[in-house]
């Protein structure tokens, strides 16, 4: 359960980071708050800032939202004992992690500029991915048989 809570919290923080970058890409709020290095502007105005016709940050919003929704769904009392939610979270986090590796590669070796917000998001995705892997290895939640609904016994 702790893993799922951690993933929900990380996804929530990542969602707002991606939301800020997405809204900025849509033209809200003017200059991006990124320090004097100008790295965020270089990254955000590069040809790599758009993927399949949409700002890259949009995919971040969708990805983090999906992680958050799945993590919250996995935290429902009825889902706590179901290990398949861990697999689903790990799969989603892995997709995000791979996409992040690709974006970080572009920043370092193609655009030659680092955006602090993107680095922040990369850290969040990496932590989420690690936690999701740890959740796969953790033992399942034991349910108290006394608390579970009674099985109907043989009629006498």
């Amino acid at each position: 359960m702790r893993h799922r809570q951690a993933i929900a919290l990380l996804a929530l923080v990542g969602l707002f980071v991606a939301l800020y970058l997405w809204l900025h890409a849509l033209g809200f709020g003017g200059a991006i708050k990124c320090g004097a290095s100008g790295g965020c502007e270089t990254v955000q105005t590069s040809q790599w800032a758009v993927f399949l016709g949409m700002p890259v940050a949009f995919y971040g919003v969708v990805g983090y939202l999906a992680l958050l929704v799945v993590a919250l769904a996995a935290l429902r009392p009825t889902a706590l004992a179901q290990r398949r939610w861990n697999s689903l979270l790990a799969a989603l986090a892995s997709v995000g992690f791979l996409f992040t590796i690709y974006l970080t590669y572009l920043e370092l070796f193609v655009i030659h500029a680092l955006c602090r917000w993107c680095v922040g998001s990369a850290v969040i995705v990496t932590l989420t991915w690690i936690v999701s892997l740890l959740s796969l290895r953790s033992p399942g939640i034991r349910t108290d048989p006394a608390a579970s609904p009674q099985q109907p016994g043989p009629r006498v």
Binding site: L12, V13, G29, G30, I32
Partner: protein
């Protein structure tokens, strides 16, 4: 309510407020640089010039940075004109601002160019603004893009930011626009050759300016009849 959901809600509220504040204070086109100033003052500046001071012909171009025709002229025609007329010492080319009121960010772009010019990078910034002219089609606030273009033009961003925030050259740009009005500039780009307004039915090219320069130089060489 479960303590975890309380924490999650508090974090969501705090982050939501943070993002709102970041977007609200994100700068945008500083009003001082983006709008007309309340007063106009002549600082003695008469435009950045390309070419030799001794050139016999001075072409003055009134331009609007958001105007697509100006961008086409700057990127397609002007390089040839530079090569054939300006670099050969026959023409000196002077740029004056004439931001049209229909364009939301033209005054802001002119200001960005002037702030770059304060650091000796006017022409580099002008090249950047016209070469990446897609900003003029999106309608989005171009402040961050202009910072990026300024950086690419070799401008120190701290000085650039201070200049833009203060709207340091807003009055200079307005003076240039009023000067254009007094000279009956009615669109952009509008050209003057040695102070005489040039009328073209289409966007002029290097051949047009070559003919004008040839004509002015030939008239200047024609010996005056003895009295």
């Amino acid at each position: 309510m479960n303590r975890f959901y309380v924490v999650l809600t508090v974090v969501a509220v705090v982050l939501g407020i943070t993002v709102f504040m970041l977007l609200r204070t994100g700068g945008g086109a500083p009003a001082a640089a983006a709008g007309p100033p309340p007063t106009v003052a002549d600082d003695g500046f008469r435009g950045y010039s390309l070419g030799q001071a001794s050139a016999p012909v001075e072409i003055t171009e009134y331009l609007d940075f958001e105007c697509p025709v100006c961008a086409t002229f700057a990127t397609v025609q002007l390089p040839t004109i530079k090569e054939q007329l300006i670099n050969t010492g026959r023409v000196r080319w002077k740029f004056r601002d004439y931001p049209l009121p229909i364009h939301k960010y033209s005054r802001f772009a002119a200001h960005a160019a002037q702030c770059a010019g304060a650091q000796g990078r006017y022409f580099e910034m002008q090249d950047q603004l016209f070469a990446h002219h897609q900003w003029a089609q999106t309608g989005k606030d171009p402040s961050s893009l202009f910072r990026s273009l300024a950086q690419a033009a070799g401008v120190d961003l701290n000085a650039y930011d201070a200049c833009m925030q203060a709207g340091r050259y807003a009055q200079r740009i307005e003076y240039s626009r009023k000067e254009g009005d007094s000279l009956r500039v009615d669109g952009t780009p509008t050209f003057f050759a040695n102070g005489k307004k040039l009328d073209f039915r289409r966007l002029p090219g290097s051949d047009d300016f070559k003919a004008i320069a040839d004509s002015i130089i030939a008239h200047a060489r024609t010996p005056k009849p003895r009295s």
